[in-house]
């Protein structure tokens, strides 16, 4: 039974009842309800337990400011830590309270209330120090017990992210925002209007006001209809503008897109002008036990009776320091709620306020000093501000209003400055930093007439259009005398500043006493304002408490920094469809399908390329597979797909001198048809990449790079050409995906290529090592390059991608009599280690130079200058100890050394003198072999060094970093 539901009124649809469950019990609500309003209609009072002390809590707000009731939604709607006041009720919804077990009524964690005095602010930091916070953090976080993340992605629908552009982005569809959107829309601007609530109207939904002589909501309906009819206006409801970034870029989280397959949509809007009509948020008052279930913001109670036709209680006491609560009290009274009294902390109540109060007793100069009832309010103790004349008034709810704070969050995110306004007793927007204007309550204009006026004015000014005639509006004036806390004698008990994080006045005092006297420090030490609600109702009371205690004006205390998001946003919405494979799609060569069909185990090979790691066969072990592939190359013939290597074609008269500048060695002397292996350095002398340059013609070159560094090398070359040598005639074209290659390697490679059929002479005389030739292979146009990354005779057959699959299959067919094997990256790794060939990321680690690698010859002495030359010379002059590349043979040849393992003197617990960069099972030596970077390694051949592991040491003999064919006869054959 919805016992607290009014028989008529409200923005709910009584013809559409919705069933839902809360903490396992079934209830009914109506379409248009939030979870909070439906719970209140069902007289569910105790809805939550607090974060730290597990105190019983109820519903305190009506929107995103809600500090107390967080729920976890289950099933189809699964999501965590949602404020009950922002959850739109849906049929079949199931929710439960977070932070209590098994239920808020019987919460075993509530024993912590007994120790409450022992856990003040900073308690955890002070207590759980030894041996380290990290040891305790998981258990404490579990005890604090906010909801967990859903364990599966949503089953129905997906998230989406879209971009939009607007001349005018209006945030908030209350009176000011609607007026602004209307003027902008009529002026023909591209308007984007977003509002966080289910329907437009803003605070007009919560109150009973009149515009143009009729109900304000009639004006809202007319305005929305006009906006809907304008093709230049995009109007979204249930859409929160949650971030205001640089260059007028804002994020909008739309939670109810019309397309049912889309769960949420995240808009990224670039706006010419931003109108911030974000309204204001009521703050609470600070008095003992101001967190009991039944203590509610006056504006929230007003919203529940007016918008949801729900009585949040039967008999209210209202406690206020300003005028706005009077209208709330009057609305409640008109809806049949008994309002016992209004306790107003001001000595003099303005006449217009007492007029609104009518027959309700107003107790001027009074404060609430205590609340009776633990799980539900039973009464309020009211006394004079001096503590005299205390009496207890029976009631089941206590409505309080500490004044209104403009929602300056987005304005502040945009780096606009704030100013403390004495007459409003709050912070208001001051200087804008971007093209935005705050209007209406967000600008501290708290009356309806001024909301309409400022909304229209802002747009008229920015668009240069005329001010329209404004509709008349019922006026209410607003006055406030700040009351930062109740300190009347007799006020005893916890007075909460931040309800969600259980931060009390005493906690802030403690922080100040302990020296945390900057508002940002107080925030972090007490965690005040760091909850899901981000202190929307309490932050300014913390600032006020600090100001009182320090005896300084609020302006000098200042506000803490507002950061996105304004309200919680689901990760799904932020990611959009950029999840899993869509974020960074894999790159494939035309052979991927063949690889998969032949059982390849695929790896990622840098730059998102997928390459075969190895091709397991039958019940081979991993090592047996790799050994088989290696032996094929060393003894017969193998083939691998080298397509992912980065490739760039350079054209122009100045390519030669440019390559001389970017490579360490001399490239300009190459003849067409020749290749050369080289290093590129960065200007600080470190190795950027290694690769092969080949001269295709007088002014045409092709440069290959390692797979992972292709983009980096491209950026490096382009930056030099565009910023340092703009006059040089060089054009760089990326051709990585325009050339694929199959590299046939091994002693029988020449025979296989010959058997494929080619018009290119393959003999060592016609096509020697480090030369290439264009022609045909297997009837396909091809370029055959004699480079070798395995140390064997190799023919890199380059073809266009459309021919690659055919080439590959022809090689595999033709190679059968020769015992050809496809080779994966594991075997390639073994083969290059046996030869002592480098791998960026293994031996080249961002500290070594060519000399350390035993490749000083690659650093041209003939060239006066090239990128990195000066820095390498400078560094080497320092004579500091260098780590140099060596080969290692583990003394026990059956022991594998983990890659990356440190070498220490004698294997003792001492600073390392190097590290093992690679260790593989060599099929030619039939043992484990390793490469390492070792201090002064070149002069230590023959020594025995030690690898230090966690619980063992491995002895290894130092040698030249080459285990196979040191003269390179095989690859040159």
């Amino acid at each position: 039974m919805q016992v607290r539901r009014l028989p008529s009124g409200g923005r709910i649809d009584r013809d559409r009842p919705l069933a839902f469950r809360f903490n396992g019990k079934g209830y009914m609500g109506f379409s248009g309800d939030t979870l909070a309003s439906a719970l209140l209609a069902n007289k569910v009072r105790l809805t939550a337990r607090s974060f730290k002390y597990h105190r019983p809590r109820g519903i305190m707000g009506s929107g995103p400011e809600e500090p107390a009731t967080l729920v976890e939604l289950e099933g189809r709607h699964a999501s965590a830590n949602r404020a009950a006041t922002t959850v739109r009720l849906e049929d079949g919804m199931a929710a439960r309270s977070v932070n209590c077990w098994p239920s808020p009524g019987l919460d075993l964690g509530a024993v912590s209330q007994l120790f409450a005095g022992l856990i003040p602010a900073g308690f955890y930091y002070k207590t759980f120090k030894w041996p380290g916070w990290r040891l305790y953090e998981p258990a404490i976080r579990r005890a604090a017990g906010l909801a967990g993340a859903p364990d599966a992605p949503p089953q129905d629908g997906h998230f989406e992210a879209v971009h939009a552009h607007a001349d005018v982005l209006v945030v908030g569809a209350g009176p000011a925002g609607l007026m602004a959107a209307l003027v902008a829309g009529r002026a023909g601007c591209r308007v984007f209007l977003a509002d966080e609530r289910a329907e437009a109207g803003g605070s007009l939904l919560d109150r009973r006001l009149e515009i143009a002589g009729g109900p304000a909501l009639d004006w809202v309906a007319e305005t929305v209809a006009e906006l809907t009819s304008m093709p230049n206006v995009m109007h979204l409801q249930d859409a929160t503008v949650w971030a205001y970034r640089e260059h007028n870029f804002l994020m909008v989280n739309e939670r109810s897109p019309a397309n049912p397959s889309i769960q949420e949509r995240n808009w990224r809007v670039r706006a010419g002008h931003v109108i911030l009509a974000t309204g204001a948020i009521e703050r609470g008052l600070v008095f003992p036990d101001n967190d009991r279930p039944g203590v509610m913001l006056a504006s929230a109670a007003q919203a529940y009776v007016n918008r949801f036709a729900v009585k949040p209680g039967e008999r209210a006491v209202v406690f206020a320091n300003n005028d706005s609560a009077y209208a709330a009290a009057a609305n409640l009274l008109a809806s049949g709620v008994d309002v016992a009294a209004i306790a107003d902390s001001r000595d003099a109540v303005p006449g217009h306020a007492s007029d609104i109060a009518g027959d309700i007793p107003v107790m001027a100069g009074s404060v609430v000093t205590g609340v009776r009832g633990q799980r539900s309010v039973k009464g309020a103790t009211v006394s004079g501000r001096d503590g005299r004349g205390a009496s207890t008034i029976e009631c089941d709810m206590l409505l309080h209003s500490g004044g209104w704070n403009p929602a300056v969050h987005l304005f502040s995110q945009s780096r606009g400055s704030l100013r403390y306004d004495e007459s409003l007793a709050t912070f208001v927007p001051d200087e804008a930093a971007q093209a935005c204007v705050s209007v209406g309550a967000a600008a501290g204009e708290l009356s309806l007439a001024s909301a309409l006026r400022t909304g229209a004015e802002a747009v008229a000014r920015t668009t240069g259009t005329e001010m329209p005639d404004l509709p008349t509006a019922t006026g209410e004036s607003y006055a406030i005398t700040p009351l930062w806390r109740v300190d009347a004698p007799g006020a005893k008990g916890r007075a909460f500043l931040d309800i969600q994080n259980d931060v009390t006045v005493d906690d802030v005092h403690l922080a100040l006493r302990e020296g945390y006297d900057n508002v940002e420090h107080v925030k972090r030490y007490t965690t005040g304002g760091m909850g899901f609600d981000q202190g929307k109702t309490g932050n300014i009371n913390i600032i006020g408490t600090i100001a009182l205690q320090k005896g300084v004006p609020l302006q000098d205390v200042g506000a803490t920094t507002f950061r996105p998001p304004y309200t919680p946003v689901s990760f799904g919405a932020i990611g959009g469809i950029r999840e899993e494979s869509v974020v960074l799609p894999y790159r494939h060569t035309p052979v991927t399908r063949w690889n998969l069909d032949h059982g390849a185990f695929m790896y990622e090979a840098g730059a998102r390329w997928r390459r075969p790691g190895y091709f397991p066969r039958g019940d081979e072990t991993f090592q047996e597979t790799v050994n088989r592939e290696c032996r094929a190359v060393r003894e017969g013939v193998g083939v691998y797909d080298g397509s992912p290597l980065g490739k760039f074609e350079l054209k122009g008269r100045d390519v030669g001198r440019f390559l001389d500048h970017v490579y360490t060695n001399l490239m300009s002397t190459l003849e067409p048809g020749q290749c050369r292996y080289g290093f590129m350095l960065t200007e600080d002398g470190l190795i950027l990449d290694d690769g092969v340059a080949m001269r295709l013609g007088e002014h045409r070159w092709l440069v290959s790079t390692s797979t992972a560094h292709a983009d980096t090398v491209n950026g490096h070359m382009e930056e030099l050409l565009q910023t340092q040598f703009p006059a040089w005639n060089v054009y760089v074209t990326t051709v990585t995906s325009q050339w694929n290659n199959a590299t046939v390697c091994g002693p029988k490679a020449r025979a296989v290529v010959a058997a494929l059929g080619t018009d290119i002479g393959l003999s060592p005389e016609e096509l020697p090592f480090m030369r290439f030739a264009d022609g045909h292979v297997a009837g396909l146009p091809a370029r055959v390059v004699r480079v070798s990354f395995t140390g064997e005779l190799s023919f890199e057959i380059n073809v266009a991608p459309r021919h690659m699959r055919e080439l590959w299959e022809r090689i595999m067919e033709t190679g059968v009599p020769f015992g050809i094997e496809p080779v994966g990256s594991e075997a390639s790794h073994v083969l290059r280690v046996e030869k002592g060939f480098l791998s960026l990321g293994h031996e080249v680690d961002g500290t070594v130079d060519a000399h350390d690698l035993g490749m000083g010859w690659i650093m041209s002495r003939k060239k006066a200058d090239y990128v990195g030359k000066r820095s390498v010379e400078l560094r080497r002059r320092s004579k500091a100890v260098r780590r140099e590349l060596v080969g290692l043979l583990p003394v026990d040849k059956k022991i594998q050394i983990p890659e990356g393992a440190p070498l220490t003197p004698g294997g003792e617990k001492r600073p390392s003198e190097g590290l093992v960069t690679a260790c593989v099972w060599s099929v030619v030596l039939n043992r484990w072999v390793a490469l390492a970077l070792l201090e002064n390694g070149k002069s230590r051949h023959g020594e025995t060094v030690h690898v230090r592991l966690k619980d063992a040491t491995i002895a290894a003999d130092v040698m030249e970093p080459v285990f196979y064919d040191p003269d390179g006869r095989k690859m040159r054959s």
Partner: protein, 85 residues
């Protein structure tokens, strides 16, 4: 997300660009520069509180390396000393 003016493509989202860092003085002639001056040029990157000249690469667009002046306090793209007139 900043809006960066590309001389060829107009204003484009920052996500289309790669950051190239602040613009250093021209590369000194390596063999006519003392060690200290070389290290200074190599390692000292302008890092002012205020406008800084920096490079961006329009890598997901036209490929241009461009130069802008950005105010490090606000992300505003501002006129550089040489831009006036």
């Amino acid at each position: 997300m900043m809006l960066i003016p590309c001389p060829f493509c107009g204003h484009r989202n920052e996500s289309e660009f790669a950051y190239g860092g602040p613009v250093k003085p021209d590369r000194p002639e390596p063999h006519e520069t003392g060690d200290e001056d070389w290290v200074e040029w190599l390692t000292t990157v302008p890092n002012p509180l205020g406008p800084v000249e920096e490079r961006w690469w329009h890598v997901k667009g036209c490929g241009t390396w461009l130069t802008i002046w950005r105010d490090t306090r606000t992300h505003e793209i501002v006129e550089g000393p040489g831009d006036a007139g």
